[in-house]
């Protein structure tokens, strides 16, 4: 069964007819031609498909497009502005926060979404005391836990953590969460 929807992807509006069974991930990859988010498991178990959906990081593989008519979707491709790489992009390159590159766009989108969550004062499993006032800060352990929804079989994790720390510290326009 088909439905007409509009998705705003990386700032550009797309009207399309989708099968109700089509996920945002497949709509992006097979219909719109945006293959920045990847299909690693198609079941919300790896994070390679992470996009910002109306500003929040989600697994686009578990999201029916039909249920998100009018939504704003940001992929890693869309983080680049006017051909300029985003500070998180540059930091991943510099810190070699990837090898095969397949989980990477999802990691980067996730990192950008994560910093905003930290900035909003959201706690994590790594936060010592969830009841405490104030912000959890951005320790390496906080990053590790908050980025655990993005699997990397090449295991670039120990480079991803400093890549995110660096971008948070130095990246212009990157939200610096926390008071650490």
């Amino acid at each position: 069964m088909d439905a007409e929807i509009t998705l705003r992807v990386d700032g550009e509006e797309h009207r399309l007819t989708v099968d109700t069974r089509t996920t945002i991930l497949d709509a992006l990859r097979e219909r719109i031609g945006n293959t920045s988010p990847k299909k690693g498991c198609d079941h919300g178990q790896c994070g390679a498909c992470t996009v910002l959906l109306d500003g929040r990081r989600v697994n686009s593989c578990l999201t029916f497009a039909v249920a998100h008519d009018g939504a704003e979707v940001t992929t890693s491709e869309g983080l680049a502005e006017n051909g300029e790489l985003h500070p998180m992009h540059r930091s991943f390159i510099e810190h070699d926060g990837y090898q095969c590159g397949y989980c990477t766009p999802g990691q980067i989108v996730s990192a950008v979404g994560m910093l905003e969550e930290v900035g909003n004062g959201w706690p994590s499993h790594a936060t010592e005391n969830v009841s405490a006032e104030g912000n959890a800060g951005l320790s390496d352990d906080e990053i590790r836990e908050r980025m655990s929804g993005n699997l990397c079989r090449c295991a670039a994790y120990a480079n991803i953590v400093p890549a995110i720390q660096y971008a948070a510290e130095h990246g212009e326009g990157v939200e610096r969460g926390g008071n650490a």
């Binding site: 109700t20 249920a67 969830v130 009841s131 655990s148 699997l151």
Partner: protein, 329 residues
């Protein structure tokens, strides 16, 4: 995945009447579980009714001083909610130990309660499973059952309930508010989920078309001294082997009141009432915690691959209560 019709209604009663007429219809909220199961062919609804915009997505104080959580509040919003963090920290901790940040951004309070089991045979349509296909048999009893139930299982099903949040809410006396074809009801969360018995296909007591609209928490003061401890096979992004949610009211070294619930051990979040009973009025001591845990686990019946859960549950109960008794002083 079977083709399905997507519907969205403007109000709760409209939604309920829409789905009441469609026996193979289901609700769609965050989608994190149902989309997964539809892809696997485990669930094949003809129609999905999108309820994300239908129920409240905020947390408000109730007249009795407790809180009401709208069913559409996402797991991440609920975990970050100030009131929850300060007055019911076990719920925040449980949510934060579940799934991943991405999934928590999608999953809702109502949907979280209705997660289906992670039993590998339930999830695999090529193997027998009484929960998925009543009467086909249980593959787990003689199969891979390391993650399965030690309490309250039946010869028909040994699956466990996967939610972390529900375990914390069970410990903290939550009520689940529903709207259904027969009107509104307020169900103690302990009664929401079922033991498998001879009908493992039914996870909960909810009727077809009955929609969870809210979860209510009581104003119990000592719930601010609560916590959630989850044991899993990796440091993050994994389902519980065993988890414990507990709250404790301690005065002068004596346990005035206590709540304990276990996750990963049964077909439902397991309220450890026997252990609670044994502890009320007793002095705080590791020996008492241990004795109470052992009373609760007396009835445990391990399968071929999950006997480890008995000492594990015991140890985690003891540790969680010990931590609470120190923090609660």
């Amino acid at each position: 995945m079977k083709p399905y019709r997507y519907e969205r209604s403007e109000d709760v009663s409209g939604t309920i009447s829409t789905i009441a007429e469609e026996p193979e219809g289901a609700f769609l909220a965050g989608g994190t579980n149902i989309v997964d199961l539809m892809k696997l062919g485990v669930m094949s609804p003809d129609m999905l009714v999108d309820v994300r915009r239908l129920t409240p997505d905020d947390v408000e104080e109730t007249e009795d001083g407790g809180v009401r959580i709208g069913a559409a509040v996402t797991n991440s919003d609920l975990a970050a909610e100030r009131t929850i963090r300060s007055r019911y920290p076990a719920i925040s901790e449980a949510l934060l130990s579940g799934a991943s940040a991405q999934l928590r951004n999608m999953a809702t309070t109502g949907g979280n309660l209705l997660q289906r089991t992670r039993c590998v045979y339930f999830q695999d349509t090529t193997t027998p499973c009484n929960k998925r296909e009543p009467g086909s048999g249980c593959s787990a009893i003689e199969g891979h059952n390391k993650n399965h139930a030690i309490l309250g299982a039946s010869e028909h099903c040994v699956a466990t309930h996967p939610s972390d949040m529900a375990v914390a809410m069970t410990a903290l006396d939550a009520f689940v508010v529903t709207h259904g074809p027969d009107g509104e009801r307020r169900i103690p969360i302990e009664e929401l989920h079922r033991l498998p018995g001879s009908e493992p296909e039914r996870d909960t007591i909810l009727e077809h078309g009955e929609l969870i609209t809210a979860v209510e928490l009581p104003p119990t003061a000592f719930f601010s001294n609560s916590k959630y401890r989850k044991v899993r096979e990796r440091a993050s992004y994994a389902f519980a082997l065993v988890s414990v949610a507990a709250a404790m009211d301690v005065e002068d070294g004596v346990i005035r009141d206590v709540r304990i619930a276990l996750g990963g051990v049964a077909h439902k979040p397991w309220r450890a009432t026997k252990a609670e009973e044994a502890l009320r009025g007793e002095p705080v001591s590791e020996a008492n915690f241990r004795a109470a845990a052992e009373i609760e686990l007396e009835d445990a019946e391990p399968l071929s691959g999950n006997a480890y859960k008995i000492p594990l549950a015991r140890n985690v109960i003891v540790r969680t209560l010990s931590d609470l008794s120190e923090e609660g002083r």
